[in-house]
Amino acid sequence: MQIHKYDTVIVGAGGAGMRAAIEATKRSRTAVLTKLYPTRSHTGAAQGGMAAALANVEEDNWEWHTFDTIKGGDYLVDQDAAEILAKEAIDAVLDLEKMGLPFNRTPQGRIDQRRFGGHSRNHGEAPVRRACYAADRTGHMILQTLYQNCVKEGVEFFNEFYVLDQLIIEADGVKRSAGVVAYELATGEIHVFQAKAVVYASGGNGKFFKVTSNAHTLTGDGQASVFRRGLPLEDMEFFQFHPTGIWRMGILLTEGARGEGGILRNKDGERFMEKYAPVMKDLASRDVVSRAIYTEIREGRGCGPEGDHVYLDLTHLPPEQLDAKLPDITEFARTYLGIEPYTDPIPIQPTAHYAMGGIPTNVRGEVLADNTTVVPGLYAAGEVACVSVHGANRLGTNSLLDINVFGRRAGVAAAEYAATADHVELPEDPAAFVVGEVERLRDAAGKERVAELRRELQETMDKNVMVFRTEQTIKEAVEKLAELRARYRNVSIQDKGRRFNTDLLEAIELGNLLDLAEVMAISALARKESRGGHYREDYPNRDDVNFMRHTMAYREVGDDGTETVRLDYKPVVQTRYQPMERKY
């Protein structure tokens, strides 16, 4: 075991982690621990754009952006946070441009902007061009640009280090962060990082679904690590299903495709979104479009022999426009489906895409131990966190924005805290939990296989807690998850070695997914209303009287060692915007 001492430790090197690192490195001795090489992070998969009311191509302002964000999130958004997001968006984009990001340009040489779902002029009048973009590679360019600037600033990375535990010391009723414990992939060695400030930027947890746009590595390790240590997770029932994943594969085809004029059609060739969202049509918010697609499918208007998908039609767009604005997604259709998007429509279905919930933070990125108390020295930003700027449904292009605005804020806040605070003393035997887990899995001789449990997990999640949910389906998921968690105790792995043991790490990642799936299902069961991405067929309406509040889930361990998930609730911060019915 090795012990390292830093001022600031950042967990994750995606957009949020590297944006934080650029700030923290200038102000404090900083280490970035990342299970992937930074440029492998899933921020690189983001395609469509990053929202900011630059007004480069038409009238726009940050207040409209704030309103759209709140409305898009079905009023579960904390309005103070949304206002910060929309206001700071402009500098966030300009900062990236100054760092070198190659945005697409207008004829005047300014950053070009395009339409995206849910972003509107003057509180819903008509779609507005607010998404700054670089073809359909915006996330790739952000990730590369941030990595380039990390190289420039000399950021210190520990690549292929998996953070598996969060160290919390509780004294006089106050929980403090002491550091993290990491596992080095190359050697199997365990490292303790003592740090004054820790920033989680470890990304989402979409891999508990089968059809998903998420990478294999998005397994919610950060969320699971803090949850296990008694800290809450917020709004985990809210998961976004993006309307246009490649049929069966889930690979994303950006909403930018509809922003450029693409149209969704059912088997009769009908532009069905006109029925569901007369003004915004194909550019209504994602939860609305995903439900519309499944409604078409359920009512027998789906395409194909099994009627299980619909079409994204780009055939009326000029090939030059597709080449210039959507080169990657058209190539995905060619590579993975053998389809030529110039002439043929692309079969699509909704795909599990984005975790709105996560580790609760305030607007400085400080992690909360309950509704109000911060955990000194602990920060989170990006998809792992819940500020909450996305509420019940995130608007497209608001996440690349979130990781830049709140990644920066968390990096600054963590380093400033580290400048004044002392190290918290490490607990005795700080690596005990990780060593125990690693040894247990290496020595285990049980009959259960990781891959089989993961398949069953993904199947039950797709079947029971996706776009449509009912009490019955969620209960089915809860029961299945209890079974899978019990069977997980009998998992064994084949690779017993120390070098690059990805067999072992997949087992640990599965454990994290199972924990988080349970939190999601239990949170969803208790929310007896429909709001944003959480749609209950048995409670089809939003219920502001009883559920205009954030879910806070805690892990409780009984005297006999049994684990349960306890739910509590937190008020939504409302400033200017009163809840209204959401129409697009």
Binding site: L36, Y37, T39, R40, H42, G44, A45, V93, L94, E97, M99, G100, P102, F103, N104, R105, T106, P107, Q108, G109, R110, I111, H140, Q144, V151, A215, H216, W247, I251, R265, K267, D268, G269, C303, G304, P305, Y311, D313, H316, D328, F332, T335, Y336, L337, G338, I339, D344, P345, P347, R449, V450, A451, I493, Q494, D495, G497, R499, F500, T502, D503
Partner: protein
């Protein structure tokens, strides 16, 4: 759009043609044995699936010790460059049907970087060469309050080289790189190109000097392996030629 009844994809999917393919994989684990060896796996698979899917089937259902890197599974993270049937490609972007699967499909680690276990190689020298070319925008003087202006044509000038995902498929396909680890390699030059030809950048001269080194661009013998290997379709050799020309003319 023509009224769709059944499209190509669906027509093919309707007759789900599973095949049994042999994957001949180069195995190496110094914890167990000093020598590398070939191991065959028979995998039942739909040929429209990816090589990565086959590797997962092997790892998840047959042999958990098989080790490789992967993340995004659709060709944008650059984790899984490997030598498949003797050519560098991304496992997640290579469909089995395109590989003549009636014969054994060989899968090996990329060449020129030290193999650490099975398909995993040491990426450090690769990233070091990248870091050595100053892969970041340099500009001096007062910054404008808004964005710097750049014409669409100036933006287009370096578009091709912005696509790089640092997968190392190009560098590890280069015979010069295999024989001489000191050479920067195509990927580093591509990333230098991305800044040298960016109208906003002011460090072109410095980067050119770095590449004028004995281990720089002049080592390139224009074999085009890199261009063929690039999973992003970057014209790598052309980019290297442009850097060479800029060195001669000092105009870029």
């Amino acid at each position: 759009m023509a009224t769709p009844v059944m499209d190509k994809v669906e027509a093919e999917a309707a007759s789900s043609p599973y095949i049994t393919a042999t994957f001949r994989i180069r195995r190496f684990n110094p914890e167990v044995a000093a020598e590398a060896y070939w191991e065959d796996f028979q995998v039942e698979i739909d040929p429209k699936e990816r090589v990565l899917d086959a590797l997962h089937k092997i790892k998840w259902d047959m042999d958990g010790t098989l080790t490789f890197r992967r993340s995004c599974a659709h060709g944008i993270c650059g984790s899984d460059a490997m030598r498949i049937n003797g050519r560098n490609r991304l496992a997640c972007k290579t469909l089995i049907k395109d590989l003549a699967p009636e014969k054994p499909i060989t899968v090996e680690p990329i060449k020129g970087l030290t193999v650490q276990k099975d398909l995993i190689v040491d990426m450090e020298p690769f990233f070091q060469a990248y870091r050595d070319v100053m892969p970041f925008l340099v500009s001096h003087g007062n910054e404008p309050t808004r964005e710097r202006l750049q014409s669409a044509a100036d933006r287009e000038r370096f578009d091709d080289t912005t696509k790089c995902i640092l997968c190392a498929a190009c560098t590890s396909s280069c015979p010069v790189y295999w024989n001489d680890g000191q050479y920067f390699g195509p990927a580093a030059i591509v990333n230098a190109h991305r800044f040298i030809f960016d109208s906003r950048d002011e460090a072109g001269e410095q980067r050119l000097e770095i590449l004028n080194d004995k281990d720089g661009v002049w080592r390139c013998r224009t074999t085009f392996n890199c261009t063929d290997a690039c999973p992003r379709g970057i014209e790598v050799t052309k980019a290297i030629q442009e850097v060479k020309r800029a060195l001669i003319t000092r105009r870029f």
